[in-house]
């Protein structure tokens, strides 16, 4: 038995806490980091909260999309490239447009990328080629398309878009409410949807035990296609957040590649098993923010930025090994 004691098994609240102990753990870690950061710098106030929140948005969106795909038993190496694609389309076509057009373009990007990635999911289920191979290939294609749409950095977006994701029409300073809500609302929607609807649960089912899911009469193919569609939509949202943050579009390949790797790191740190079926979206939100927060913390500690990546790597390995140790001890005690 996994449960350490009878009281925990019988008390529903304790059980929920226990079952989500990893999610709880990473949120506590995030809280500790924020506290620590606030002691490192002279002033900690709304400006810092805004800054951390808005800078986290692209990675958090991407990580949510990746989490859903990984939970359904897949992995998507093209999410970063989809972010690029969304970013450059937005920057090129939103620049100088009136608000209604900008809103239409934004919704079109999200819906379009959702459909595009759902198509990729369909190809994966149809062909039987491993997810990692198909999405690696499509990632290159989307990156190439992005360069074709916007050969060099440029373009722009409407001030209202910038306000929505950054809290200020100019992208500097501003209120922390818009970015915070933009962080929490999509995360909550996806999290609640995935744990409470039949289709959402079918993603967990397919990732957890594909044969059993099939034998129970579930549509395994549909689950995967839906997961990839959500991944595409979240990548579209991430690209929009990016253009709102920077005010321009940037088609450089490395941005997309880094974003993909960071999304996988956030997913793994957030307690989603790469084997599928385990974990939830809330944990991934915290780890996405943690990965982004490392930068200002290291700057505040005056650590050479060249060492930042080493520390990030050590953190990922350390947290995962800690998790492994806990699981091992728990198993041995039972």
């Amino acid at each position: 038995m996994m449960m350490p004691s009878m009281t925990m098994r019988n008390n529903p609240t304790l059980r929920i806490l226990f079952r989500n102990s990893w999610t709880l753990g990473v949120w506590l870690l995030l809280g500790a980091l924020v506290l620590w950061y606030s002691t490192l710098i002279p002033v900690f106030g709304p400006f810092q909260i805004t800054s951390i929140t808005k800078n986290s948005l692209p990675l958090v969106y991407l990580a949510i999309g990746q989490a859903i795909i990984v939970i359904a038993g897949g992995i998507d190496l093209s999410l970063g490239a989809l972010l690029l694609l969304s970013n450059v389309i937005a920057a090129r076509f939103m620049a100088g447009q009136p608000l209604p057009a900008v809103v239409l373009i934004a919704l079109g990007i999200i819906a379009g990328l959702a459909l595009l990635n759902a198509l990729v999911g369909f190809i994966i289920t149809l062909s039987g080629v491993p997810d990692i191979v198909v999405t690696l290939a499509t990632g290159y294609i989307w990156s190439g398309l992005a360069l074709w749409i916007l050969p060099s950095p440029g373009g722009g977006t409407a001030p209202e878009m910038r306000w929505l994701f950054t809290g200020s029409p100019s992208g500097v300073g501003g209120s922390y409410w818009p970015p915070l809500l933009m962080l929490l609302i999509p995360a909550a929607l996806v999290a609640i949807w995935s744990r409470n609807t039949q289709v959402g649960l079918s993603l967990y089912a397919v990732g957890s035990h594909k044969t059993a899911a099939q034998l129970a009469g579930l549509n395994v193919r549909q689950a995967k296609i839906v997961a990839y569609g959500i991944g595409g939509a979240m990548a579209g949202l991430a690209g929009l957040a990016m253009v709102a943050l920077t005010g321009t579009g940037d088609p450089r390949f490395a941005i997309g590649a880094n974003a993909t790797l960071n999304s996988v790191a956030a997913v793994v740190l957030g307690g989603v098993a790469l084997t599928g079926g385990v974990g939830n979206v809330f944990g991934v939100v915290a780890t996405g923010v943690i990965l982004i927060m490392l930068n200002p913390i290291l700057i505040a500690m005056r650590v050479d930025s060249n060492n930042a990546q080493v520390i990030q790597g050590v953190l990922i390995a350390g947290v995962m090994m800690f998790g492994g140790l806990v699981a091992f001890l728990r198993e041995r005690r039972s």
């Binding site: 038995m1 996994m2 449960m3 529903p12 059980r15 079952r19 039949q198 649960l201 079918s202 967990y204 089912a205 990732g207 957890s208 035990h209 044969t211 059993a212 899911a213 099939q214 034998l215 129970a216 009469g217 579930l218 549509n219 549909q222 079926g277 385990v278």
Partner: protein, 516 residues
């Protein structure tokens, strides 16, 4: 998807209603029927043409020895696999299942041997996934004495017998015409099995049907009305259970005896001298499935092991081969106590395994040569030295086993029999003292079977100790010296292979008393 399923339901109900109105007097008696259903897996033919008829309000037993094709037929009826040929009828209409969802929509609900529940979700989540009404599910759970089951518990935290009940209750809540139950009582306690029978009796009274696949003949006699008996992929008998007894069922399952094979075998049995004890186990116990098992096998001896499916034989072999560590008991190799931490330790001691699933043991995309030479890669000196004796050793094994090397570049392209030879041949290349064979002839053609029997006898004559688990009872008297019978994780009987008959073994394996 949602609409599709609903439409099927609707049309089925409409048809049903139409039939009722049309001919209330001669309502169709046949609910589920198959005609000439056949299925082959590559070169292995599992079903050669099965006709089965299940009537309304009938509990129908599907019987057969291991490998007779029961599980293949279940998979076809449950929509897991399509048939190669033949037809399936429900209420006289032909149906085609492409997925399990199709079978469920057509009114066939299956409870598989491994519960089809998602381990990482709670029971409640699993119900919601299958669109099952929780209240209805609860009611049938209560009937099984599990009314206090916590639906918020994760499936992986629940014991197997509970999961089987949950799976059954879920299948019943789907309100099917036919329940397909594969070894439903295997993991249940006697009390729970009793409740299942009560429920099935009620089920039948409501004019619904069930197909029961079981090894427990007493159950068949007690609650089944009809029995279809499969042998070698065909239906060989349809019996009314009230008119026969258990022994007649066993005879129908076994069919004509295997005389021709017997004769070829007897010669080599003649004189075999037994040496020292090669492998001895005392009080070997695993957490659930193996209970206090003790036996010894001497070099030159072939010790048979007989058990029905799921009696702990898999675990026992895992323990012997070092793949699992026992909870209690000890293993002695040549008189020395050993603690195997991994199969590597066992192989170092000369205890080698030919596993039940040959695909686990093989590297499917590698060549025959590579697969045969695999155990040799263990030796550290091969890091530096280019091996020179590997080639002749492998060649000798290929010749001795007469492995067909036409498709030698990739093992997965070989036939099952040749693959099995490669798994065996690997240990000939590296050498061993004790050979553990888990059902080595399952799904293999008769010619290769004979070759494998001959090889095992030859190896024993050269001083190897062999433990052979087999699901083909005829093999026992052909190959073995002694035979142990495993039931519910314990060794319940030992018979002399020369005098053991298939029916004496089968009865012992069913836990029946054997009259000496």
């Amino acid at each position: 998807m949602k609409c599709e399923a609903r439409c099927v339901f609707k049309s089925r109900n409409a048809l049903h209603a139409a039939q009722l109105m049309q001919a209330p007097m001669n309502q169709p008696q046949v609910l589920l029927a198959t005609q000439g259903v056949a299925k082959a897996y590559g070169p292995v033919v599992a079903l050669r043409g099965v006709d089965m008829t299940v009537r309304r309000g009938e509990i129908h037993a599907l019987l057969g020895a291991n490998g007779a094709g029961k599980s293949t037929l279940v998979k076809i009826l449950a929509g897991v696999q399509p048939a190669d040929a033949g037809k399936v009828y429900i209420e006289g209409r032909t149906v085609h299942f492409h997925t399990p969802a199709d079978a469920i929509a057509a009114g066939i609900a299956t409870v598989f041997q491994d519960p089809a529940l998602i381990p990482d979700l709670t029971v409640a989540h699993n119900l919601r996934l299958s669109r099952i009404d929780e209240a209805k599910f609860r009611t049938s759970l209560e009937r099984f004495g599990l009314g206090d089951l916590d639906l918020g518990a994760l499936v992986r935290e629940l014991p197997l017998e509970t999961l089987r009940i949950v799976d059954l209750a879920r299948a019943m809540a789907r309100d099917p015409h036919v329940l397909l139950l594969d070894e439903i009582t295997a993991a249940l306690t006697a009390d729970q099995a009793e409740r299942v029978f009560d429920l099935l009796t009620e089920w039948r009274a409501q004019g619904k049907s069930a197909v029961l696949i079981t090894h427990r003949l007493a159950e068949v006699m007690r609650i089944c009305d009809q029995a279809t008996i499969l042998r070698d992929g065909r239906n060989v008998a349809e019996l009314v259970t009230a008119e026969v007894d258990e022994h007649q069922l066993v005879e129908a399952m076994l069919g004509a005896s295997v005389e021709p094979l017997m004769k070829t075998a007897q010669g080599a049995m003649a004189s075999r001298r037994l040496g020292e004890t090669a492998l001895e186990v005392r009080g070997l116990t695993d957490r659930h499935q193996v209970r206090d098992v003790s036996f010894a096998v001497r070099s030159g001896e072939i010790l048979g092991l007989v058990a029905l499916e799921g009696q702990g034989q898999d675990r026992l072999f895992d323990l012997l081969a070092g793949a699992r560590r026992p909870v209690a008991g000890e293993i002695q190799v040549a008189g020395k106590t050993c603690h195997f931490r991994s199969p590597y330790d066992a192989v170092q001691r000369g205890v080698v395994l030919v596993p039940g699933d040959r695909l686990i043991a093989l590297l499917p995309n590698q060549s025959v040569h590579h697969n045969l030479a695999l155990p040799l890669f263990n030796h550290l000196r091969r890091w530096l030295r280019i091996p020179t004796d590997e080639q002749p050793r492998v060649q000798r094994a290929i010749e001795r086993l007469s492995i067909d090397v036409r498709a030698a570049s990739q093992v997965r392209r070989l036939s099952g029999g040749n693959q099995q030879k490669v798994v065996l041949g690997r240990w000939l290349v590296s050498g061993f003292r004790t050979l553990l064979c888990f059902d080595p002839t399952r799904g293999i053609d008769i010619q290769t079977k004979r070759e494998i029997y001959a090889l095992l006898r030859e190896l024993a004559a050269q001083g190897a100790a062999i433990v052979l688990y087999t699901s083909e009872l005829a093999e026992i008297s052909l190959v073995c010296d002694r035979v142990l019978i495993l039931h519910d994780g314990r060794i319940v009987d030992e018979q002399d292979a020369a005098t053991a008959t298939e029916s004496s073994l089968l009865k012992a394996a069913h836990g029946l008393e054997v009259v000496a």
